[in-house]
């Protein structure tokens, strides 16, 4: 083995774990902020009377579902700098992931709201509830339960999606793996480890999503 390569050591494992922590942090950021966007989009999509709201939210969802996440990351990342915003890298990478989460979770929110029988909402209206009360006390208790299994499933997608932060040079798990593999030449070992870490994060989530869905079906 040529001299320029450094032997794979525990330090590289630590570097990978550091990357894994950033991957999880990116996910947490995207999910927590994306949830607010999703709530807004979901409520707009489920609005029956105001067509403009539905149309705007529908277009938003279509755009994010109809373009590659990689393009979204490129456009948002370079678009932010064109706007003259000097953001920390973590934030700049988070923005497209937040918008992406907003679109996909927005559909989950909408499906949750629309699963509530119409009569329940009408009953709420006729009791003189406001829109806020209706959503909070009539729709939310059931809708949230319906939303949980697909949400956990979406988290798997989001964890996988953060790997694309690689393309703008953000050192999350995949980029960390790439760097280690190039410096140590232990390529297969490194990517097996990287894959195993992703699997370790995602598999429990996948299982949980399946179980929750089965349970929901039993109770329905």
């Amino acid at each position: 083995m040529p001299e320029i390569f450094i032997a794979f050591s525990y330090k590289d494992v630590l570097f990978l774990l550091q990357g894994a922590i950033l991957t999880i942090a990116l996910c947490a950021m995207a999910f927590s902020c994306g949830l607010f966007v999703a709530l807004l989009i979901g409520l707009m999509r489920a609005a029956r009377k105001i067509i403009v709201l539905r149309w705007v939210a529908g277009t938003y969802v279509e755009i994010f579902r109809g373009t590659p996440l990689m393009m979204q990351i490129f456009i948002a990342y370079f678009g932010l700098s064109i706007l003259g915003l000097q953001l920390p890298r973590f934030v700049a990478v988070s923005v497209p992931l937040i918008l992406f989460t907003g679109a996909f979770m927005g559909e989950i929110v909408r499906a949750g709201i629309e699963a509530i029988p119409r009569g329940q909402r009408e009953a709420g209206w006729s009791l003189g509830m406001t829109y806020g009360q209706l959503m909070r006390y009539v729709v939310a208790p059931t809708a949230v339960r319906i939303m949980i299994p697909p949400t956990v499933g979406f988290l798997v997608q989001l964890v996988k999606g953060t790997s694309l932060a690689y393309v703008v040079g953000y050192i999350e798990l995949t980029r960390a793996g790439y760097i280690v593999s190039q410096s140590t030449y232990a390529t297969m070992l490194v990517f097996t480890l990287v894959g195993a870490i992703y699997f370790g994060i995602n598999y429990p989530l996948s299982l949980a999503s399946q179980r929750l869905e089965a349970r929901l079906k039993r109770h329905a």
Partner: protein, 224 residues
Amino acid sequence: MSYTFHWEVPLQNMSLFLWGAAATLQMSGVAVLLGLIIAIFCALGRLSKRRFLRVPAAAYVETIRNTPFLVQLFYVYFGLVAIGINLDAFTVAILTLTINCGAYCTEIIRAGIQSIHRGQTEAGLSLGMTHWQVFRYVILMPTLRTVWPPLASQFIATMLGSSVVAVISAEELTYAGMLLESRTFRTFEIFFVIAILYFAMARAFSLLFSLTGQRVFRQAWGQL
């Protein structure tokens, strides 16, 4: 904002992008078709009573579905080199996309097979249908009808996901953009136009699949 947009850069290079779009479609089309063949076998494996068929099929599906495509791509790309096989990036991209797509399609096909009850076959036979008629009208068509919409979505997901293969320099639409970007540095304009192209392809195929589905299965469906 003191940035001057140069939209003429991507617009003057439309022919490069259209060539890239054709490569993207070719790549994802081949991957989905080959993926489907893998999927049919794996779905039968997952539903098998035999453990030695069920376990590997499940392991394959779960491994692929729980790791990012980019990592799979690196794994195949560097892995093939490590065992002494040198393939060009385009072939590696198709290979990885096929492996990836196969796992997702397995779940779709499995759901399709499970949607047919044994009693339906027996009902068909007792109505005096021949075995061929039972296969065609009771098994094949309803299964296809069930799997058609998710397969269409899977094709679109594969097409959009294939943009990632530009990372290993496989020549398709995103790579065409990166090529132009490295010469002109008009990153935003270039990828904006490319995103529109992807969007147009996604919408067009969504519509195409939904129309084909309606025609073939003579049933009104909503948007795919």
